[in-house]
């Protein structure tokens, strides 16, 4: 058996999804298999990442077709990093879902979960533009199911918006892919990049239009202004583990922009180089400000977190727009941090919701929840991390991004926007924290009213809180081991700069020689 980590990080979730579908009546079996698959995936992705760090980009030719014709999976350090993040996040969120019985609120939770991971991994690994579309559809279809899982009315409404806007984006994706194929005659990203570099001047406007159309598509996925309106409602109304997993979904858009636009319209693209950068920078700055205002205007804790996700994605998109040599490692560092902390916050919000049966996580004063101090302390920790205050990892991420932009002509605009929005976010987080954890009503009020039932101390199911500890402790690890992790992201960035190496590696992938082959094109002739 071929133990190639590239293909197994796809096959494992896919196969386990199929097995889980067959066992749909046995929840215990489902849980064990799903958890086993997720934890094995963590090992596989770590192995893949270690493999990628020590070598050139690895390719896997699906169906044994050589490069520009067949579909190629490529594992380089960038995709390896995202695989690791996805696998860790999935394991933590799945653990929480199992312990909190979220998976029993509807059928096929685990199947959809594994298919979602399959789609995510595929989108990170593929080296083919159309295949990227297919994996986007896989992960989106699974995410529609997960979003509506165990849903209420609000959920359906938000889900409808999410589905319609993503279907529209899929149509635009196909238009862009079709245009690129019509002009350049290939869909392999490495091949596309080479062809764009030698594009005749007549065809440049059409390819530029296709490139910007692709940017619109990825902007929908990563929730860039003005295409972010679906995000806060969708994220705030779904179940906690799903919202936590969705912390990676917006990063898929960011990754796709880095991968597709960075390669197709990178430095070697001639007249079309850097086509997307000014758009990303300015729209990113606007998104960041609006997200900061959104955190101030939010009426529930989960809405606040959804806007925080938006703010972190906006910061990443700004970092892509800055496009200096030191920006990519800073961006990746911030990406690791923001994904895990936002996911941890979403899980935490669920415990807050359980502790306040009256008002759930709405920002209205209520009786103190059980273990108020503990939950409040965890919230404080996560708030410091996500708002980018020292000493936690968010501070390093933002500092590195700002540091890399010093040479940029619009440095002061970038600095002012990031710092101002940070201030607004801090104010919003302080407000949320003080309403939820400080402005508690005294219990004595219960005795003189007819509301005895309301005053029974609510029960918080503490199961699965290890997931929060795990996710937030990654923030601590990022702080303690900032130097080695930054070195890894620098190495990723260094490999990313060698685009020609990647192209060479992809385009020279030779098919395996199969001794049992019976039919070949030469034989037919």
């Amino acid at each position: 058996m071929n133990l190639n980590p590239v293909i197994w990080s796809l096959l494992l979730p896919l196969l386990s999804a199929i097995v889980l579908l067959l066992l749909s009546q046995r929840i215990k079996w489902q849980r064990s298999i799903s958890l086993f698959a997720s934890s094995s995936l963590v090992l596989i992705t770590f192995y893949a990442m270690g493999f990628a760090l020590s070598s050139t980009p690895q390719t896997y030719a699906l169906g044994n077709w050589p490069a520009p014709f067949g579909i190629i999976l490529v594992l380089d350090q960038l995709s390896g990093l995202l695989l690791v993040i996805t696998a860790l996040l999935s394991l933590a969120a799945l653990w929480c879902a199992v312990r909190q019985n979220t998976d029993q609120q509807g059928v096929h939770f685990h199947v959809l979960w594994q298919l979602q991971i399959f789609g995510l991994n595929g989108a990170f690994l593929t080296g083919d533009l159309f295949n990227l579309f297919v994996f986007f559809e896989v992960l989106l279809l699974a995410s529609y199911g997960l979003l509506l899982h165990g849903g209420r009315r609000q959920n359906t409404k938000a889900g409808l918006h999410y589905v319609v806007i993503n279907l529209l984006a899929s149509s635009l994706f196909l238009f862009a892919v079709g245009t690129l194929y019509g002009i350049l005659g290939t869909l392999n990203m490495a091949d596309l990049a080479q062809k764009i570099a030698h594009l005749p001047a007549d065809n440049q406007p059409i390819v530029a239009a296709a490139g910007l159309l692709l940017l619109v598509v990825f902007a929908v996925k990563s929730a860039l202004f003005p295409l972010y309106l679906w995000l806060p409602k969708a994220y705030a109304n779904t179940t906690a583990p799903v919202a936590a997993l969705f912390a990676i979904m917006t990063k898929v858009g960011v990754y796709a922009i880095i991968r597709v636009h960075g390669m197709l319209f990178g430095e070697n693209a001639g007249a079309l180089a850097g086509l997307h950068l000014p758009w990303l920078l300015w729209l990113g700055l606007i998104t960041l400000l609006l997200a900061a205002f959104g955190t101030l205007a939010a009426t529930t804790l989960r809405q606040t977190i959804a806007y925080l996700v938006l703010a972190s994605v906006a910061t990443l998109l700004i970092a892509i727009g800055i496009n200096q040599t030191q920006t990519l490692p800073a961006l990746l560092f911030y990406l690791i941090h923001s994904t895990f902390i936002a996911a941890g916050l979403f899980l935490l919000a669920d415990y807050v919701r359980q502790g306040r049966p009256q008002h759930a996580d709405r920002l209205i004063a209520d009786f103190a929840m059980p273990r108020n101090t503990l939950i409040g302390g965890v919230y404080l920790f996560a708030a410091i991390a996500i708002s980018g205050m020292p000493p936690l990892s968010g501070f390093f991420g933002k500092l590195l991004i700002l540091q890399s932009s010093i040479q940029h002509p619009y440095f002061w605009w970038i600095l002012a926007t990031i710092l101002l929005s940070n201030l607004l976010i801090i104010i919003a987080l302080v407000r949320v924290g003080s309403v939820l954890f400080y402005q508690t009503l005294p219990r004595e009020r219960c005795h003189d009213s007819a509301l005895q039932t309301q005053c029974l101390p609510p029960h918080i199911n503490p199961q699965g809180c290890g997931a929060i500890v795990g996710l937030l402790s990654i923030g601590i690890l990022l702080t303690l081991f900032a130097q080695p992790i930054y070195q890894i992201t620098e190495s990723i960035s260094a490999q990313w700069q060698q685009v020609t190496l990647y192209q060479q590696q992809v385009l020279t992938t030779a098919p395996f020689d199969n001794p049992n082959k019976t039919l070949y094109w030469e034989d037919i002739k």
Binding site: K157, L160, L174
Partner: protein
Amino acid sequence: MEILIAVCIGTLTASGVFLLLRARTFAVVIGLTLLAYAVNLFLFAMGRLQIGLPAVINAQANDYADPLPQALVLTAIVIAFGMTAFLIALAIKARAELGNDHVDGLHRANDETPEQETPTKSRNNGRMRNPI
């Protein structure tokens, strides 16, 4: 033939976008379907319009039609089919739960307060909203 195909794609896209901007879920579903048709035609056209040529390389024929767009269209059709089916199911669910087929589920003021159970559900029995 080029003009005919171009007009077809343009009309389908324009109708699709128009319907997509309607407020009823049914119109939105039809709009997305039309848009998917437009995309399929467009992908076909991107393999260049040729008539009477074999799709797979044939030793006797001088030329052949580009088989890749056909494969892409096949994939796109399957995906669009599945997505439309899902969207219709979702639209019916939304119609049942929100009480109307407006895309924003309007005409119910209490939709704006999140996490609220519907009054018909028994879990809410007799509880008062505000303890203070």
